[in-house]
Symmetry: C2
Subunit: 233 residues, 2 copies
């Protein structure tokens, strides 16, 4: 094996992984799996594709060792193969947002109500949430909340929000978040809350984004509750 063949093999291996993430739907599946392990059928539903197609995409991701699967009764549960994977997704997203102004524009256009709080630093949000000055609201499905959530956050899945909205205080700012900036559940929740007279603000960051930012700011370290020992709030 000469130098050229060795190089081709090495770059080829890395490309195996980059090819796996070179598809919008596969990126979306990674985002979904970054929240919690899920079955094929659920992934398909949440990504708006057929189970068959989801299965094919997941096979690609598995081939690149970005996700792994495990049978659980009748269904097959996929999960990210390491915490590096969500981190990687955040990084990809961030880099794309830095470099593609089309993306920046699309995001800016989207942020009708978004903004102010995103930029307020995590430490101060943390303090306000701890002291009950604001309410952190996680509108993702319950299992995703249980897997990991922002500190002091309260779970109220979007689907239940309409029925449970009265549990929330009318006199406090409600900071709503979901899976990340490309997930629009928090947007819908904010619209609903505002309609009902609540002071709702959208936080575009999700758990993975928060974790990456926090590990960079070394110190703040807002360890995300959750994981093995689920405790519903």
């Amino acid at each position: 094996m000469n130098n050229r063949e060795i190089k081709d093999a090495l770059f080829g291996q890395v490309a195996r992984m980059t090819k796996a993430v070179a598809s919008p739907k596969r990126l979306e599946l990674i985002e979904l799996l970054s929240q919690a392990p899920k079955s094929v059928e659920r992934l398909a539903r949440e990504a708006d594709i057929s189970p068959k197609l989801a299965s094919a995409h997941l096979k690609e991701l598995r081939g690149a060792r970005l996700v792994e699967s495990q049978r659980q009764g009748k269904r097959i549960i996929y999960r990210v193969s390491s915490p590096e994977v969500p981190q990687f997704w955040v990084l990809l997203r961030t880099l794309a947002e830095d470099r593609l102004f089309e993306l920046k524009d699309a995001l800016r256009q989207l942020s009708l109500s978004r903004g102010e709080w995103c930029e307020e630093d995590r430490m101060s949000l943390l303090r306000k949430a701890r002291e009950g000055e604001i309410v952190m609201l996680d509108v993702r499905p319950a299992d995703e909340y249980e897997q990991a959530h922002l500190p002091f956050a309260r779970s109220m899945p979007l689907a239940e929000l309409h029925g449970r909205i009265a549990e929330l205080p009318l006199d406090k700012t409600i900071l709503v978040y979901c899976r990340g900036p490309y997930c629009l559940m928090s947007k819908d929740a904010v619209l609903l809350l505002e309609e009902q007279g609540y002071q709702a603000v959208l936080l575009s960051e999700g758990v993975a984004e928060w974790a990456v930012a926090a590990s960079a700011e070394s110190g703040c370290d807002p360890v995300l509750t959750g994981g093995e020992a689920p405790g519903r709030k």
Copy 2:
């Protein structure tokens, strides 16, 4: 535009970037450009492809805003569009090496002489190089050395090594590096040096790898000389 269409647009934009890096040759071009700006013809030569094909690949990379080009007389010079790009390449590579054991195996198999020094910490190498205890040898082409090099490193391009080998001390360890772990110039240099009785050791890291590692270790910060004011050693 409903939620689904918005999501598709957002993930689609990120995929635009990931698609650009989903090719071994384009990854190789990014590595080459991470060293220094280069013309199409030179990139084609160094990546072992036709200029035409190089041009096509570079167009893709430009479309994703990962590189930019600028005419300089008869030729067109490409460069990475930001220091984030080499950093991104190192990260991709690292993640792939973490997750794909095939890659790990290929690298391990390759490291006949590689190893010991890679794992010695940067601070201590830095000290030894500063005090002349060892020689850091950069075997990349001169312009890449001028663009940026490891601290206290000396330039001796692989092509000139045979003729200039006598300039090197026989009684000191010579630490040889090049573009990074997938570049085999340092391997060839080490073989040549050992053949001639020198104490040569391969350092698999290149400038970009060193920079990423150093910024993580916050403190060591071995600012890489080079850039606007080139000063040949």
